[in-house]
Amino acid sequence: MGLFDRINLLAPLRQRLRQWFLNRLPPSDTLTLTQRNVYILPTRPGWMLGFTLMLLLVASINYQLNLGYLLTFLLAGSAVVGMHVCHSNLRGLTLHLAPPLSMHAGQAVSLEVRLANERRKPRFGIGLGVSSHRGSRDDDGLAWLDVPAQGSETVHVAWAPDRRGRHGTPALTAVTLFPLGTFRVWTIWRTAAQVIVFPAPEQQPPPLPPGEPQPGHAAASARSSNSGEFDGVRAYRRGDPQKTVVWKKAAQAFAAGRDDLVSRDTLAMQRQQLWLDHATCGAADLESRLSRLTAWLLMADEQGLDYGLRLPGKEFAPDHGAAHKLQCLEAMALC
């Protein structure tokens, strides 16, 4: 391992080996650990223990110490049992991955994994994390947990995908060093769930673009304040008719100790439609356009505005709500 770290030439080969290894694992969102998918190797302290045992044995032979033999062999016996305990600490465990939620690129998300233990004994010190690219020996970023006897425990594994698009969830590693730390038992779990990663929203986006005139309506069409189509809210202005006040929000505001009123704003939206258009958003390349559009979309959604989205080859009519938002975001993710 140390050798592989130092010799960079081997890194691509290593990566390729790893990929080959991962590809031959069947992907699944539930994995029961058996003899077949649990691996075991001595750790560095494990080798050190072997060396210690060797020295103890040589000393016992040379000084003809029968009690020395006993000590050496008892320690060796305990280490052998420890190896078995270490392996069975993972073996038989069942891992379930809950369907992950979508997220924006660069955002850390937590994959929820449930570890179910059928055994009558608890399992101690199990580390779970995203299988690292640098090699499977990096145990630093793992989440550690104990799984109670005949019960289950849920752990959240942080994962930050860096690109938008449809991603498979990363391969996960479960590790244990329990009980003696002389052996490292691990498994690599190729999960099947997919997750759509939306483009990362631009950090400081410009304000929303002005609305476009609604096709088929005259630009100066009369304001119809009682048409029943409510598209947005704004702060209460003197002179607003009482029926445009959103009383529900007002009641919430009063309860929270504020006394600001909110009116439904039907005026602007009746005449203007908010279109988020990749062609006119002002950024240069596709990624930054998508980024800006995403930021705008989130702003519009927050304000409860209707918005439409135009992408290369795709158009979504202005609308609002969670389903619309998801549809648009997915379209941008996969664009």
Binding site: P45, M48, L71, F73, L74, G77, S78, Q150, P179, G181
Partner: protein
């Protein structure tokens, strides 16, 4: 420790274990080493309790230099066994001062094991074994605890896990211990291995055995076949000293060539006494046998030779406990019957020492007559002088000066067996009578619990042999002339005893003796079975297993076979486990089979929900059918619902508790 944060608690626990490991070494390391180690451990504990940072490298380097210096001053070397033990103990304590990460904890762990092993250089008693076992369990507990990273794992739980590891490891230990081939030492015993142990030694300086008289530890155990000889015949012969340089007695340094050297010329009479000796480790090549043994003692794997002075020795010193069987005769005759040139070696005395003893010798010769024919009379005269001349036997005769014989005969008139024997031989030689000193053990004590005779270091004794024409070498014990109780009865000079033993003795003398007898019998059992387990025992074990002429290779063969058999059993278990590895399917099959016996005809592939439907149809609307189908649906949910709260074990338990009809319907 309950209120401490996890890390502090773990550190303190490890420090406690290290303290225990070091504590067991306290008797074998210099006092400054004990003090330094204790100070470092206490310092480390204080730092932990106060949450202060660990000392910088300068402190550690300074302490290391101090230790190296101290070791050099104490042992005059930093290599070798005793120096090594001193160093490793301090290094262990020093390492705790930089113990931060898990890696450092591992180093402490492994150093502790070396420290534990060094303890066996000094003692392999049962008590040591118990202490080491405690240390091993403590170390394993610390290690297990370090690998339970979640929350604040209770130490009791770690201890339980460590205990079960050791318990399950014990069979492995047993198999390896029984079958691992016992090899000869890989390289010679380091020369310093003789320091710091009590026992007879290769030379005799007057006053040395007196030290042994205060040593209550066991030198050897003897088991007689049949009746033991009387107490006053129990002379266990050890090294014989024939050359005196004025201050020290040494084995014979003959001025004569091998051709004229003395022969043992042993002839024995009567029925031999057969016995088995278990000699505590003494790292000398000699074997102690009852006077006189004509046949070589049987030592497993060793060639045994007899010296001309009737003293048996092995080729190489053996490290540990040594067991051998021997045959002896109490009636025997040895040495040349007629005067030989080589006997001249045994009347040699260094010039210029003990002038008054020489004068006494002249006076005695004038009185009783010189010449070989008068030798018995001269011996008798000297014995009479010892008996009647106001000489006393004491363990504390003070320090003798240059002319030890003169001081004994004329000034102090008191001494321990070696003063008496040395003075006696000098006087004999001054009268031209060949004489020599024999050291060994005299007497012993029967342990009523297990029937072994226990010979202690305090039984160490020095007696003499005088050569008489026509009789050869004749044993003369001048000490018995001074103090008849020293030999022949149970009367002993008692060594001072510990406070506890003293307290018990004042309450109930027999209880103290009985407790001691039981404890020594247990220890003896430990010695006989564990410490004495040798290649000989291994081979006889193989013989019992059915090997005709077992050898070293058979041992390896059996060991490998056992390992292969265990591995195969493990592999078979895994295969079995893999085949049945889906406990859910197993449970469903069990349920189906049970229902099948009750008359329900269901396919092997029937899923639980369908099985539930069939059950309801078959058994109608009974409470039994209700609960079984409910259970089956829960079984299905366990497998297929996204977040089932049920565990399979709960379902298994519920399966047992279902109201199955008592008798089978079909």
């Amino acid at each position: 420790m309950a209120h401490l944060p996890r890390e502090a608690r773990d550190t303190l626990f490890l420090l406690t274990v290290v303290a225990w490991v070091v504590f067991m070494q306290v008797g074998h390391i210099p006092w400054w080493c004990t003090a330094l180690t204790a100070a470092m451990l206490i310092w480390r504990a204080r730092l932990t309790l106060r949450g202060q940072p660990l000392p910088g490298w300068a402190w550690r380097a300074g302490l290391l230099a101090l230790t190296l210096g101290g070791t050099w001053l104490t042992h005059r070397t930093i290599l070798g066994r005793d120096a090594g033990v001193t160093l490793i103990v301090v290094l262990l304590a020093l390492k705790t001062l930089e113990m931060r990460a898990r890696r450092d904890a591992f180093v402490v762990f492994f150093l502790s094991f070396f420290t534990l092993l060094t303890h066996f250089f000094y003692s392999q008693s049962l008590l040591t074994a118990i202490g080491i076992l405690i240390a091993l369990l403590g170390l394993l507990t610390a290690l297990v605890n370090a690998h339970m990273p979640v929350g604040r794992a209770p130490l009791k739980q770690s201890a339980r896990i460590a205990g079960s590891l050791a318990l399950l490891g014990a069979p492995v230990m047993l198999v390896l211990f029984l079958l691992f081939p016992r090899m000869a030492p890989l390289w010679g015993m380091p020369s310093d291995s003789m320091t710091g142990r009590s026992g007879l030694s290769g030379q005799m300086r007057v006053g040395e055995i007196a030290k042994l008289a205060l040593d209550d530890s066991i030198a050897m155990r003897v088991q007689f076949e049949g009746d033991p000889p009387p107490q006053n015949e129990l002379y266990f012969r050890g090294p014989v000293f024939s050359t005196f340089d004025g201050t020290e007695w040494l084995p014979l340094r003959s001025g004569f060539t091998k051709r004229v050297a003395l022969e043992a010329n042993l002839s024995v009479a009567g029925e031999p006494i057969r016995y088995t000796v278990t000699l505590e480790s003494h790292r000398h090549p000699w074997l102690l046998t009852l006077d006189a043994s004509a046949k070589a003692p049987q030592v497993a794997g060793q060639v045994v030779q007899m010296n001309a002075d009737l003293h048996w020795r092995t080729r190489q010193p053996t490290g540990g406990l040594l067991r051998y069987s021997a045959e002896s005769h109490t009636s025997f005759r040895h040495g040349p019957l007629q005067a030989e040139l080589a006997l001249q070696d045994l009347v040699e005395l260094p010039a210029g020492y003990n002038p008054r003893t020489f004068a006494l010798a002249q006076a005695l010769r004038r009185e009783h007559g010189a010449g070989a024919e008068n030798a018995p009379a001269l011996v008798k005269a000297v014995i009479d002088k010892l008996r009647t001349g106001g000489y006393t036997y004491t363990l504390d005769p003070g320090i003798y000066g240059r002319d030890t014989a003169d001081e004994f005969w004329f000034d102090r008139r008191e001494g321990f067996c070696e003063h008496i024997a040395s003075s006696f031989v000098i006087l004999m030689r001054a009268m031209d009578i060949p004489a020599r000193i024999v050291t060994g053990y005299q007497g012993g004590e029967l342990n009523s619990v297990d029937g072994f005779w226990t010979v202690r270091q305090s039984d160490a004794h020095a007696w003499t042999e005088v050569w008489l024409e026509g009789q050869g070498w004749v044993r003369v014990d001048p000490t018995s002339a001074v103090s008849p109780g020293r030999t022949g009865s149970f009367e002993r000079l008692l060594a001072p005893e510990g406070a506890f033993a003293g307290a018990v003795r004042t309450i109930n003398p027999t209880l103290a003796a009985n407790l001691r007898a039981v404890w020594e019998a247990v220890n003896n059992r430990w010695n006989q079975t564990v410490l004495n387990y040798s290649q000989g025992n291994q081979l006889s074990l193989l013989k019992n297993l059915g090997f005709d002429a077992p050898g070293w290779t058979d041992l390896a063969y059996v060991l490998i076979s056992v390992l292969v058999a265990v591995s195969l059993a493990g592999a078979a278990w895994n295969l079995w486990e893999r085949q049945q590895h889906d406990p859910w399917m197993r449970l469903l099959t069990r349920a189906r089979q049970r229902l099948d016996r009750l008359g329900l005809d269901a396919d092997e592939q029937t899923p639980p929900r369908e099985l539930a439907r069939l059950t309801q149809r078959h058994f109608g609307d009974t409470a039994f059918a209700q609960s079984v189908s409910l259970w089956l649906i829960r079984l299905e949910a366990q497998r297929y619902s996204r977040h089932s709260p049920l565990s399979l074990a709960t379902l298994q338990r519920e399966f047992q508790q279902l109201p199955w009809p008592k008798g089978n319907a079909r």
